[in-house]
Amino acid sequence: MQIRTQQYVGALISALLMALIGVTLIHSMRTTDQAIQRSDFVNSLNAKGISGLRLVTVEYIIYRSERAKQQWQLRHDSFAQLLAQDVFEDPTEQSILENIRQQNQYLKDAFSALVDLNREPGGSVQEAALTREVERRLVTQLMLISQDSVIDARRLAQITADKIRESQRQTSQLLTILVGLIGIVIASHFVTTLNQILTPIKRLKLGVEAFARGEFSFRTRVKVNNELGVLSQTFDQMAERLGETMTALERKTIQLLETNRELESFSYSVSHDLRSPLRGIDGWGLALIEDYGEQLDATAHTYVERIRADTQRMGQLIDDLLLLARVTRAEIKHELVDLSGLAQSVADRLKSAQSERRIEFVIQPGLSAAGDPRLLEIGLTNLLDNASKFTGTRAEARIEFGETVTDEPEPGVRRRVYFVRDNGVGFDMAHAQRLFGAFQRMHKTSEFPGTGIGLATVQRVVHRHGGSVWANAKPDQGCTFYFTLSPANPNPLRMPTRVDDGISETSNENSKETS
């Protein structure tokens, strides 16, 4: 049964039972009201009728007063009016009430006979004695009749009380049954909810938790005929499909890693193996100049020099490729690295190597990060060397290394990043997607020499640390490289709704190589 249907049925049965309880209570209240009404009537029979009549009867017997006689008649008449009411439906009660009516009539007869007797006082002694005897008999009769009326009124009261008790008992029994039925409904609802809803939900929760742990082999196996049954079935199907997809993905990842390893191994081998013949070509070129230089004309000299220059450039290219391969293959260490110190030493080296240039390095002191010092040095060297190269046309070069807060590359999430900024030639951001690709260049080699592998190496270093790297530049307005060294900043700074500062570091014009 569907959960919706279950709920409807449960609500319907509960409503029916509640309605029955309501009807029972209303019926009970009505019955009780009627019984109380009858009880009041019976009480008034005793209080207003029989007791009053007995009192004035005794008064009359003792004092024979006219006032007592009048009162007797008044009370008798009002009692007769009270008795004329038809308040009982039960034959037994009607019969008893009829008895009391008759007794009231007998009382009147006997009382009238007593009054008449007093009007005719006996003449002779014998007649007087007979009168006294009749009088005693009538008094006895009055007492007996009124006593019978009392007994009958008591019986009526007893029957009325019994009916009230019986009504209460029946109501209690019915309510007990109804409450019991409600209990059964609640118990059934509880068991149904437990088996049909809560247990499937629990299984589904276990399934979701298993998914969160990456266990796609978990199956809910819930067999209930409701919405949760359908959901569980769908969940199990989804798990089946996901499991298959994950298995395929893992297989492909393994294949990809294997291919990568083979490629790296291949490129390393090729690079390494190429160095030897290149060194040979360069050496033999040098030997040719040194041993037969005088026999060669100027054009031959030029050709040999070009051969050597290209050979050296190819050697540099191979070195860079080997470096990139090493960066990729090297086992990474994690220790606290003084980035400011590292940047300063690279800057000093660059300054001494280009002493003829006017380069200003601005290094933010106190920057440090967890990472591999060897790889970070390679990364920073490439970035600073890159900046130095593309500021070569500037009379006053300015290169900065520091830390800033930006919402790039995820707008809305501000975080701390490191940056290397220069006032070089910059580049057009339309080509930014090629920036970190190996052998990709944005400027002619004749303008800015290079192999086009430096930024690819930087990206590999940053990725090995779990971070990301990106750039922001404009042609002839300098360039800024940003990088992070962790997968996600543990304390991302949420951007305010209204941004008014953004990245303030884009300033000087720069040109740069993007290899």
């Binding site: 009769q141 007996l144 039925l181 059964i184 118990a187």
Partner: protein, 341 residues
């Protein structure tokens, strides 16, 4: 999950019938804990089988109420309550039915007797049937006439009352002692001018005389009792028997209250009374088990009447409270005991 569903269905299927069964079978379940049946107790009751007053005793036989109380009851029928009383006093029966007058005379005579319950009351059931050809048209005309009456019965007391109301002294009439069954013949044969008796003899006498007869009924408000009495010592020694008997009679009373027509038919069939007895105008019969203050008042009134008319050697009214044993009836139905104590 399928197992859980099956369990749920089984649980429901078992709980609902069990619940309903418990409710409907509760009386039977309680019955299992009822005490074991008691041995049957024998009891012999002398009763008047010509008077409706013994009705409840017969009704309890017909409806098995004695059996339900584990009583083995033997009913000894007699023509009058006086005879039944004599049988009890002579120990031929454990208990006997009696009208108020025989009971009063037994107490006045010093017989050991105690009333355990009134089982019937009658209003207007007594009266006098007289011959018109003897010049009798009213009660006053009974003066100097021969009147048949069963001495020592309620008829005796009623006749005296009727005469007194007409200012006729008992000395001015000739009372002819007659058993009730002999009255109709005596009246039709002219051996008496009138008879004073009770139903069914009054109706029979009136029918036998036809137009020649005239009937004077005591008014319906004049109520006499019919009670169950026994030896006080025997009653004290057998309280359980008495209580069981009274419980059976109370059940018979309840049955009569609720099934009056059927009860009437059973009583008419069991006793030697006419079916018309219950339909006689002016009579007011009540099958009721009780001990009322009225019984005490009436017995004392009768005692004064007996003393005044020198029908007894006693000169003082005894304390009739001593001869009414309320113990058993109070134990089984306290509400029906209205004697002031």
């Amino acid at each position: 999950m399928r197992y859980a569903r099956r369990t749920e269905v089984l649980l429901l299927a078992a709980t609902v019938p069990l619940f309903l069964l418990t409710i409907f079978a509760w009386p039977s379940i309680r019955g299992w804990y009822a005490p074991p049946a008691l041995p049957k107790e024998k009891i012999t009751i002398a009763l008047c089988n010509t008077y409706p007053g013994s009705g409840l005793l017969y009704l309890a036989v017909a409806k098995g109420f004695y059996v339900q109380e584990d009583l083995d009851v033997t009913l000894q029928p007699y023509t009058t309550g006086l005879d039944a009383m004599k049988a009890m006093l002579e120990k031929r029966a454990d208990l006997g039915t009696t009208g108020d007058t025989p009971l009063m005379f037994a107490v006045m005579a010093g017989h050991p007797v105690a009333v355990v319950a009134t089982i019937f009351t009658a209003g207007g059931a007594f009266g006098t049937v007289a011959r018109r050809d003897q010049g009798i048209e009213s009660i006053s005309d009974l003066k100097s006439k021969r009147i048949g009456v069963t001495r020592g019965t309620d008829g005796d007391f009623i006749l005296s009352t009727m005469l007194a109301r007409s200012r006729i002294s008992p000395d001015h009439v000739k009372l002819v002692p007659l058993p009730p069954e002999a009255m109709v013949d005596a009246l039709t044969a002219g051996k008496v001018d009138a008879v004073t008796s009770w139903e069914p003899w009054l109706t029979r006498a009136q029918k036998s005389l036809g137009e020649k007869g005239v009937e004077f009924r005591i008014d319906s408000g004049f109520v006499l009792n019919f009670s169950l009495a026994g030896d006080p010592e025997w009653i004290q020694n057998h309280p359980d028997k008495i209580q069981r008997l009274l419980r059976a009679l109370l059940r018979a009373q309840k049955f009569a209250d609720e099934n009056w027509s059927e009860a009437q038919a059973i009583i008419v069939k069991s006793e030697q009374i006419d079916p018309a007895t219950f339909d006689t105008a002016g009579t007011r019969y009540r099958f009721v088990v009780q001990l009322s203050q009225g019984l005490l008042i009436l017995l004392e009134d009768m005692a004064r009447w007996a003393i005044q008319n020198k029908l007894t050697d006693r000169t003082t009214v005894p304390n009739f409270l001593d001869v009414i044993d309320t113990t058993a009836l109070t134990a089984v139905s306290p509400d029906t005991v209205t004697i002031v104590r």
